[in-house]
Symmetry: C2
Subunit: 512 residues, 2 copies
């Protein structure tokens, strides 16, 4: 990811052949269909009221003194000894109203700006796995080289709209300066939006500075252009961690966006009933979202849902389950109840890219589309309940995301599209291959896959009986060959490198 | 499938262990959610009107003189030389109104009776592939042994509600008596509803006689108890074949049920635009459905949709595409427009049970659920665009169907389910594993998979790094071990065997 490799890669693009991967063009999908709702407005109100009761009668712990000061000043009831905070229902309602229902996430390439909210979809790369894998090198601990290659894939494929945090955790880099290397890589290897981890104030501050440098703007201007998004996972049940709060404060005070996602796995950190788990999810989300609006009214925020379940025999987290499907859909209804953008995920609990990985992903992905999920996290590459990023799964997911984007294109019912004349011309027993109506449209009539193989059995055998897993291996390597690094002004690149090397001299962050 | 093997199998069930496959109990799912609709009522009306225009101005060929007589007598415009039939819009509307919106399919075991229509779901076994495959013996031509084993699997798994035709075509049996052996096998090996092929009048007549014998009833009684269903595929574009018509006449005159499914692959036998292909599908369906009501007003019928697309590069049929998803959903809207039960399919174009098979199936199956499809054909086992029935895919699909059934179970929002007391008791930072609320519910709280492996990577490695494909191989063999043949009165079995052997002496059907 240094300038040398950049130039090398630029040169390589000269030799691109006509066999380049044919993918859909860049386009942020909008959902033209009605949201699919599986519970009634009354039932949504029951969850809402149950959440308010939890926040009023039980409370939630904010493990940070500065947060407690802000909460107290805004009217919440604070118990310093336990750091528990109780909210009157009106207080939650009052502050939630201040959050916008839609905002723009700005990228250093404005073509890649993203709308967040309403009927807009964003597909975001897998984030946070400690391991990664591919067929050639097997499963291994996350590292900076793989991290960079996953960032390159997310830049290369138009259907991946952003990277959300680290596509794989580069554990070979020191923990206290890792964010500097990763932000530099994000700014160099992609010109799409990226995310940052709110692990304390300093990491966020550094990343904000680097975004400013990359665009040649000051913090004041960035404040009016939300460009960074950070996921705040509550430490369920009913806790918000101190380091997360400190990062969140730095984000919010600088106009950057927060997605609050309670980690309410039903049966473990949340009740074994989905109604209970969703009430807890909603309570934790509402309290934390209200807090962001106390810090900076009008801050861009996203309501996140992640309520899946555990296997009650083993305690293992499960994803792509009927329970996750339901909670994803109900989460969308809750987010709409509050007029907030909504985040859910494309997840599975599988160890290898097989039929289970395919169907569990689809059991997650369909509900994200149906629920009008605005930010689909872990949209490409997630495996093993989040413990591994798979290069081959990235390709499987690119196919799924492209299929969903294509599904979201509305049909035309214009006269010509109804094809009466073609039907009359062909008549009984004919076929439509050679008609003018077909010839004029056949090239763009249908979604063309990049991974799916529709050969008949004989042809598929001749080509070597390759599974989708094996074919995906070839495709991600080809994508890395075809990858083109986006341009970045030389002076800004130098300024970024100088910032990073200076910050590394004295990170001021504990090395964990 | 003879009496000997029956007794042997009964004996075997004595040794069933506690490691039996844990599956969901028999239950026909009902969809409690609103249907998901992707086009407006106006657009449905445009398709409706386009179809009526096709039937009025172009017409459709009924390749059977008896049918032409009936159509003429009912008021359609007939051209004998071309066998083309034109319908006034009012004629179609008048006869469509006579069809019921819901009916019961009766089985020889009333527990397995099925409701067809409204919010009821039926998952029907794969039908008609000429080949079958499993990991042990590879891909081979369909044969009677595999046919019987697939029927046993469809009896064993509660989530497969019926078999629709031959799960694999037993090409080792003579074509002109195959229906006799298969009907006997269906009546012996399963007590669920099954389907028959309308390949001429005699085959249907034989099957109806055999159903009567198996229940000890006469044709008059069977006439009031629809028990058999047959798929009528139009020979698109715009033709209904003679043998199909003759079979259909025998079905309808005996009170049995017909599902009309035009074979309108967009780009080949139908226009390259989905709006055009759906107009053609609808025209063919309406004409053939109206015909059934001319023959016997009030006949139980199903509106079938099968509009997928071909790969425009190779001409290969594709399934599990975004186009199929859209046409499945719109097909449901059309069926509701006419107040008719709806049929669609769980299909894919894959050659091996890999990630593609998983995601293409889910790209088909989700829309069947969302569209309130009443009869999901090919719900278990279909591969290769219908050219192969896979034993392992049956197991993958059993998992998918069970997940969907579980998804269709509505959440409870009763006070106890909201879990306020449990949340208050656990408080911040605790967990819910040991609470009374969890202990009372954990056994049945979540869907428990039969195929999906949620082990962590290390445990999965220790167990031999098996893919879902490999695990499914073990499961179908275990299911055959656990299979219990349903009872059938000895005297009826003897009567059936005698009927079959007598009919084989002089089938009266050409041997093709």
């Amino acid at each position: 990811m240094d300038r040398k490799s950049k130039h090398k890669r630029r040169g390589r693009t000269q030799s691109r052949t006509n066999n380049a991967i044919e993918q859909l063009p860049w386009k942020q999908p909008r959902n033209p269909y009605p949201p699919f709702e599986i519970v009634s407005a009354d039932q949504i109100e029951e969850i809402h009221l149950a959440s308010l009761r939890i926040l009023e009668e039980v409370g939630i712990a904010f493990l940070d003194e500065e947060a407690l000061d802000i909460l107290k000043e805004s009217g919440a009831e604070i118990e310093r000894s336990t750091q528990m905070v109780k909210f009157a229902p009106e207080l939650i309602e009052e502050y939630l109203k201040k959050a916008p229902s839609q905002f723009t996430l700005h990228s250093r390439n404005p073509v890649h700006n993203l709308e967040v909210g309403k009927d807009w979809n964003i597909f975001s790369m897998v984030a946070s796995p400690p391991n990664c894998s591919d067929i050639d090198k097997g499963r291994r601990a996350g590292n900076f080289e793989d991290f960079q290659n996953l960032v390159r894939l997310s830049q290369h494929f138009n259907t991946i709209h952003m990277t959300g945090g680290y596509a794989v955790e580069p554990v070979d880099l020191p923990a206290n300066t890792r964010h500097l290397d990763c932000a530099l890589a994000h700014l160099l290897l992609t010109d799409k939006v990226f995310g940052a981890y709110s692990l304390g104030r300093q990491r966020i501050s550094d990343t904000i500075d680097m975004i400013c440098i990359s665009r040649g703007i000051k913090r004041d201007q960035l404040k009016t252009q939300p460009s960074l998004i950070s996921i705040i996972n509550t430490s369920s049940p009913l806790r918000v961690d101190g380091v997360m709060i400190q990062g969140m404060l730095e984000m919010v005070r600088n106009g950057q966006s927060i997605c609050v996602t309670p980690f309410t796995l039903s049966g473990a950190m949340a009740p074994v009933t989905l109604a209970g788990a969703l009430s807890l999810q909603n309570a934790e989300a509402l309290a934390t979202l209200a807090f962001t609006q106390m810090v900076a009214p009008g801050s861009p925020v996203v309501y996140g849902g992640f309520t899946s379940n555990v296997d009650m025999k083993s305690g293992a987290p499960a994803f792509g389950t009927p329970e996750l499907a339901k909670s994803t859909l109900i989460g969308g209804q809750l987010a709409r109840r509050y007029g907030l953008p909504y985040r859910a995920s494309n997840v599975n609990a599988c160890n290898i890219v097989d039929a289970q990985a395919g169907y569990e992903s689809m059991m997650s992905l369909w509900p994200t589309i149906l629920s009008h999920c605005n930010l689909v996290k872990h949209a490409a590459g997630w495996m093993e309940g989040g413990l591994c990023a798979s290069f081959e799964k990235v390709i499987v997911d690119v196919e799924l995301l492209q299929m969903m984007s294509s599904f979201l294109e509305q049909l035309s019912f214009s006269g010509e599209e109804m094809a009466f004349d073609a039907i009359a011309e062909v008549g009984p027993g004919g076929h439509f291959f050679g008609t003018q109506h077909t010839l004029e449209r056949y090239e763009k009539a249908f979604y063309a896959p990049i991974l799916s193989d529709w050969s008949n059995f004989g042809m598929w055998e001749e080509k070597g009986t390759k599974t989708a897993f094996q074919r995906a291996n070839h495709i991600w390597k080809q994508a890395l060959e075809e990858y083109q690094q986006p341009t970045l002004e030389e002076s800004r690149l130098e300024a970024l490198e100088s910032f990073v090397s200076k910050r590394k001299e004295n990170p001021g962050i504990p090395n964990y």
